[in-house]
């Protein structure tokens, strides 16, 4: 137990402490609050990177998963935090998104309501906790923490649209939480444990009558996460909610659907993987066909939506549908590509949500009227307007246009950026299962998946082309949005992360494949969790 081992708890502890200490600070010192909050997120980011490096180097026992016993009780009885490659990856991704959106919010959006930064930090704590926990009930607690903060963030800025969307969002999620609890308690009733690793051990040995209850519980639990991930019949709330939220909030919400996907991936690989006995592959067909339907629904929505906010919301659906179907295929080689896709698409969607606000800033109703009036009086002087105050970005439209193009390329999966590489990696995995499976021919469902993957890219391209032409080439208003450096920097940062991912695709892909490999061999994870000794004097009281 070195100091390094204690770092695991920091991604949860640090945001909670920051959130609590920001509450008494006066609301007028928003910049101070923002800076403290940003510094804390930066620290979490650095810790996450350290943890990711540690989990990637197979020292310390060889398996890469490190276990932290909260309260120092041994595993099946106490509550554990488990860090492995997958959770480290999610931690880093969350921290990157948080840094970008927080920077963006400091330009003006954090002034739209109270306690923005506290809520933001609490949501980060909930997210990181959900990624780190190794216990089903703790997962519920962190999940609720994340959701409660997200309700507050969604309502940030108030207004009838947000309150209406918030009402629906909260009602849907409260109902889903009830299902979550019923699922957790059914699993406890059937197996007598809530620790995920212990559960994985017990699943192969329980009797048929308990198995039925356990599977019912797992199915209910799955529905709760599928609501969160936005699977087709359960995801109607998503585009409306995301387009109603303030831009930085919508951007960080891009990771919320991925929490659902992460837990589905974690539980299906751990509980219903190779050692599950009679429950092998439970729920996979649902994930596969539900995911396919979600891609289809999302692609139609992408084509049909007029407003950019809704377009981005449907892109979220396409992205989580792609991931769910990839999990449902149960092919380890696809999972590696899917993880790459998860990172790439989340970064892109986050950048896109931020960009939308910058592009549409000049297009809101008030500005339209003003523009028309000014034109009528021959009073238009765009250059002067641009120089007015602050560090405005030169050639605003050019920068915005380039960012938009990058988003379009990433979303539709065209070469040379990471969106293409991700889809290519998934297709490659489908045709070459390699070490993960035999030489089974590509099945009908897999062909459907391939077709939908490519068609959804086409739909995204068509929709982005249409919106781009309308916004940048044939724009009626002709006003140039005033954009500050602090607002465009996060978008550039996120897109640069995607470019970095494309340039470093080799190492990144190796990491993802190793992650997929460790997920398909849950014995390591289980062994580590169950065998971690208590800290302190050996066996002492």
């Amino acid at each position: 137990m070195t100091w390094f081992h204690h770092l695991i708890v920091l991604p949860i502890l640090l945001p909670v402490i920051t959130a609590a200490s920001l509450i008494p600070v006066d609301e007028r010192n928003r910049t101070l609050k923002g800076v403290i909050s940003f510094a804390s997120t930066m620290a979490v980011f650095l810790v996450s990177v350290l943890l990711m490096r540690a989990s990637a180097t197979p020292g310390d026992g060889g398996s890469g998963a490190s276990v932290y016993l909260l309260g120092n009780w041994p595993a099946p009885f106490g509550i554990v935090l488990v860090l492995d490659r997958l959770s480290a990856l999610m931690l880093v991704l969350t921290a990157v998104l948080a840094l970008a959106t927080q920077l963006f919010s400091m330009a003006k959006w954090h002034r739209a309501g109270h306690h923005f930064h506290s809520l933001f930090q609490l949501m980060l704590a909930g997210l990181n906790g959900a990624f780190l926990t190794g216990d089903l009930f703790n997962l519920f607690v962190f999940f609720e923490m994340m959701l409660a903060a997200s309700y507050g963030l969604l309502l940030h800025g108030s207004g009838p649209m947000r309150v209406k969307a918030g009402l629906h969002y909260i009602a849907v999620n409260l109902a889903a939480s009830s299902l979550f609890l019923i699922g957790v308690s059914l699993i406890y009733g059937a197996t007598g444990t809530l620790n995920m690793a212990d559960l994985a051990l017990k699943i192969s040995t329980i009797g048929p009558e308990s198995r039925m209850l356990m599977e019912a519980g797992a199915a209910l639990l799955g529905i709760a996460f599928l609501v969160k991930a936005g699977m087709w019949p359960l995801g109607f709330w998503l585009p409306a909610t995301y387009s109603a939220a303030t831009p930085p909030v919508a951007a960080i919400f891009a990771i919320l659907t991925k929490v659902g996907v992460y837990i589905l991936l974690r539980l299906s690989m751990l509980l219903f993987g190779s050692d599950a006995g009679a429950s092998l592959g439970f729920g996979q067909p649902i994930l596969l066909y539900g995911g396919l339907l979600t891609i289809g629904f999302g692609a139609i929505g992408v084509l049909a939506s007029q407003a950019m906010g809704r377009l981005a919301g449907y892109c979220v659906l396409v992205s989580s549908g792609t991931l769910m179907a990839a999990i449902g295929l149960g092919n380890g080689a696809v999972i590696g590509g899917a993880l790459f896709y998860l990172v790439s698409s989340t970064l892109t969607i986050c950048a896109f949500f931020l960009l939308i606000e910058l592009v549409e800033r000049a297009r809101d109703a008030g500005a339209d009227v003003l523009a028309v009036t000014m034109e009528a009086y021959g009073d238009v002087d765009e250059n002067e307007e641009e120089k007015e105050e602050g560090v405005a970005v030169p050639g605003t439209m050019a920068v915005l246009g380039l960012c938009f193009c990058a988003c379009a390329i990433l979303l539709s999966g065209l070469p040379p950026l990471s969106g293409f590489l991700a889809k290519f990696a998934m297709l490659h995995g489908l045709f070459n299962p390699g070490s993960f499976g035999g030489d089974a021919p590509v099945s009908g469902a897999e062909w459907t998946y391939i077709a939908l993957l490519i068609l959804s890219g086409l739909a995204a391209m068509i929709a982005m082309n249409r919106v781009g032409i309308r916004t940048f080439w044939t724009s009626i208003e002709g006003t140039i949005p005033r954009v500050f450096l602090i607002e465009i920097a996060p978008v550039l940062l996120l897109l640069a992360a995607c470019v970095f991912l494309s340039l470093q695709a080799g190492p990144a892909m190796r990491y993802m494949d190793a992650t997929a490999k460790s997920l398909s061999e849950p014995q390591n994870y289980i062994g580590r969790v169950m065998s971690t000794p208590r800290a302190g004097p050996a066996g002492g009281e």
């Binding site: 309502l155 009602a171 409260l174 009830s178 609890l181 308690s185 406890y188």
Partner: protein, 111 residues
């Protein structure tokens, strides 16, 4: 006892779900509350029903499932109650805000 508990959970869930699908925000919040009562009872029931069996050990004593009841579901229920209560309060605030903005208590903000 089992029959009473299961019937109770069933009636609460059925009423909760029915109210959840009603168009008024007040009905929705009552539905959610009833649903959370049902869920709490359900979690409690998952620890198996026992009469006269304490969930905690006396100092120095040893326990077993013959003399003691399973304490974990009770701890879980406590957490679930607290979280459910907080969420209901939050929903109530949003409900009032929605009513203030739209002047109606329809969940869509218009009749």
């Amino acid at each position: 006892m089992e029959l009473v508990l299961s019937a109770g959970i069933g009636v609460l869930t059925a009423s909760g779900v029915w109210l959840l699908f009603r168009p008024r925000t007040y009905q929705v919040i009552i539905g959610l509350s009833l649903l959370s009562y049902a869920v709490n009872l359900f979690i409690f029931g998952m620890g198996r029903l026992r009469v006269n069996a304490p969930p905690v050990l006396e100092p120095g004593g040893t326990g077993g499932l013959l003399t003691h009841t399973d304490p974990i579901p009770q701890a879980l229920v406590l957490t679930a109650i607290v979280i459910g209560f907080a969420m209901t309060a939050l929903f109530l605030v949003v409900l009032l805000a929605s009513r203030g903005f739209t002047g109606t208590d329809h969940v869509d903000g218009r009749e």
